[in-house]
Subunit: 341 residues, 2 copies
DNA sequence: GGCATCAAGGAATAGGTTTTCCTCACCCTA
DNA sequence: TAGGGTGAGGAAAACCTATTCCTTGATGCC
């Protein structure tokens, strides 16, 4: 393959046709395996294309075919920790099918979002993926765009629009079962702001699973606060005061778990011997950096992204989806819940 | 503005022209403020466009004009912690000029990279930004692509190609001056693998600045290791053994600094009273979550991205850049270096 | 030998926009 | 009144590709 382009102007199919001594139409057929052509002609065209470093102009193709093999991705949280893996998974599902992704960060500004959507529509993307910070429902990006839209890690207030989110309730259950399975019976839960839907779902999943295993913790025992290590430290002190015999804590994020771990150890409790800890996010720099490393629930965000992309592809292909799809979480066991036996 | 599209087919300029009772060419001129048209005609066309929710097909425009107002962004580190802010800054500089960004993650796989570049070229992007994990030089993505390329947070082995990177040497100097300015005189440096160019540059900047302030630390005293909290903990123990009177440590990342801080405090040293700590990255979840919060050097990655994008725009506009551009870092002072007075 | 069939490839069209060049009518001046 | 200038807008080319329809020559069959 000679170096990509002749630097000046990219070769067009017209150049290829001329070089191969055939018409444009014939060249097109040869390159796309269409029509009735002699073997030798195909080869000649292929050789010319190779020689000229020809690559079809996808703009022209898109203009003609009505499909651009391009999708838009809109994120509201500055490519944050959540939307990135989602993007990664989506890119994975799309990229392998030769679809390119336009990325747009709205910074949570509706006006900016509107203008991005306009731009994407003008570029004739085949579909849209909308991803957000957390799982809270948000205003629809538009229901009559003429192209399919899938939400990932967030949902539209118009609840019929397809959305893919992690199974937060399942995350809570997973945590409870893991802790109980490790022989813990006095559970605590320290988590983020109660206004987050995901927070409430996890808490209820956790409490329910505990209850049905005969271990008592009610949602009113849950400690809600900010998403900060600072709150983790503080909450640990509070919890130890109100429930000094606690032997395990489920933390709503790895950051919280770090704070909790730190605080507990300063208060002389050993992790996991005295108190076991489970975090959420499986955010490796946090979870692995902790001492001891944190058991954490991975929300499989890449799967969320992948599934969203697959739903989008199906919709583009004519099979739209509706409503919510949840993706199961996975618990990654590490030293912070190692059996104290 | 009536709801975006008529759901079925997007309105074209032909529809607008028909509705306004003018020819296509006239409609185009009216919408773009070109040509000689009566005021009333322009208004009529504008009204029709609004009514039909017309937005020009950017594919067609790109096909015709040779410019797509689109750039490709290639990252090698899975949208990691470094390339994201860079992307953000770039998107900032580009987005406000109505340029859309194709995002591609190569996962460090040259074959994948090649195929992405092909795809972007086929989509006739106007330029390329290549961003990487750290600042190490990498093989060129191609020097005869026919479109300008700018590297950000990484450089091409072909050193003439334009690249924008943070001023790592300056980061080291900043750290040294800050610590010395806070009255510290026995400096240590714990950092990442010596094979990283950025690591060596920071170390030499740090040692030089210290030397020229009359404080002795040689590059041979630097502790090199992995980029992990674990290494931070271990290195702190080593350092305290070999230099028990150290009163300040410059850490090559916030993660390292977290490990160091943790380890020091377990060994009974107070931060910052006994030992002051400076990290690098200003990675907020890490730096703010630490106790005490970490002073850290912000590499202003968004500025790196912004500048790269600006260079790219200039190159697209006909004024290509060459060689290295460095972006200054900024020290964010927090409690870990609060004067012990 | 005439006709249908078939292989091979050319010509033309569509897709949506911008831009250049034309046309047409009108007014002004010599 | 002829010629030129001008204001307003139309027609058509150009961008590049894929596809549909045609043409051409050759072959096979009755």
């Amino acid at each position: 393959m000679p170096d990509q382009a002749e630097s000046a102007r990219r070769a067009t199919i017209r150049d290829v046709a001329a070089q191969a001594g055939v018409s444009i139409g014939t060249a097109s057929k040869a390159l796309n395996g269409q029509g009735k052509l002699r073997r030798e002609t195909r080869d000649r065209v292929a050789a010319a294309a190779r020689e000229l470093g020809f690559a079809p102009n996808l703009l022209a193709r898109g203009l003609l075919g009505g499909r651009t093999y391009t999708v838009g991705m809109i994120t509201t949280d500055s490519f944050g920790r959540f939307s990135i893996p989602v993007m990664l998974g989506a890119e994975d599902a799309l990229g392998s099918g030769q679809i390119s992704v336009f990325m747009c960060d709205t910074r949570d500004d509706p006006a900016r979002e509107r203008s991005y959507v306009e731009g994407l529509l003008s570029r004739r993307v085949d579909g849209l993926i909308v991803t957000g910070r957390r799982v809270e429902p948000r205003p629809s990006v538009g229901t009559r765009l003429g192209i399919p839209v899938v939400y990932a890690m967030t949902q539209s207030l118009d609840s019929d629009e397809p959305a893919v989110i992690p199974d937060d309730r399942g995350a809570g259950q997973l945590a409870a079962l893991h802790l109980i399975g490790a022989g813990r019976h006095r559970l605590g839960h320290i988590t983020g702001p109660e206004r987050f839907l995901a927070v409430r779902k996890r808490a209820s999943g956790f409490c329910e699973a505990a209850a049905s295993a005969g271990v008592g913790i009610s949602t009113s025992d849950v400690l809600y606060g900010e998403w900060s290590e600072q709150w983790g430290r503080e909450a640990a002190r509070i919890l130890l005061r109100t429930a000094p015999d606690v032997d395990s804590i489920f933390c709503g994020s790895d950051q919280l778990a770090r704070g909790v771990s730190d605080s507990l150890q300063r208060m002389g409790r050993r992790v996991p011997d005295d108190i076991a800890l489970v975090g959420v996010d499986n955010w490796e720099p946090m979870a692995l950096g902790a001492d001891p490393p944190l058991t954490s629930i991975d929300m499989c965000l890449e799967d969320v992204g992948r599934q969203a992309a697959e739903l989008l592809l199906a919709a583009i292909g004519g099979t739209p989806a509706h409503g919510l799809t949840t993706v199961p979480c996975r618990l990654i066991a590490r030293a912070s819940t190692r059996s104290s036996a």
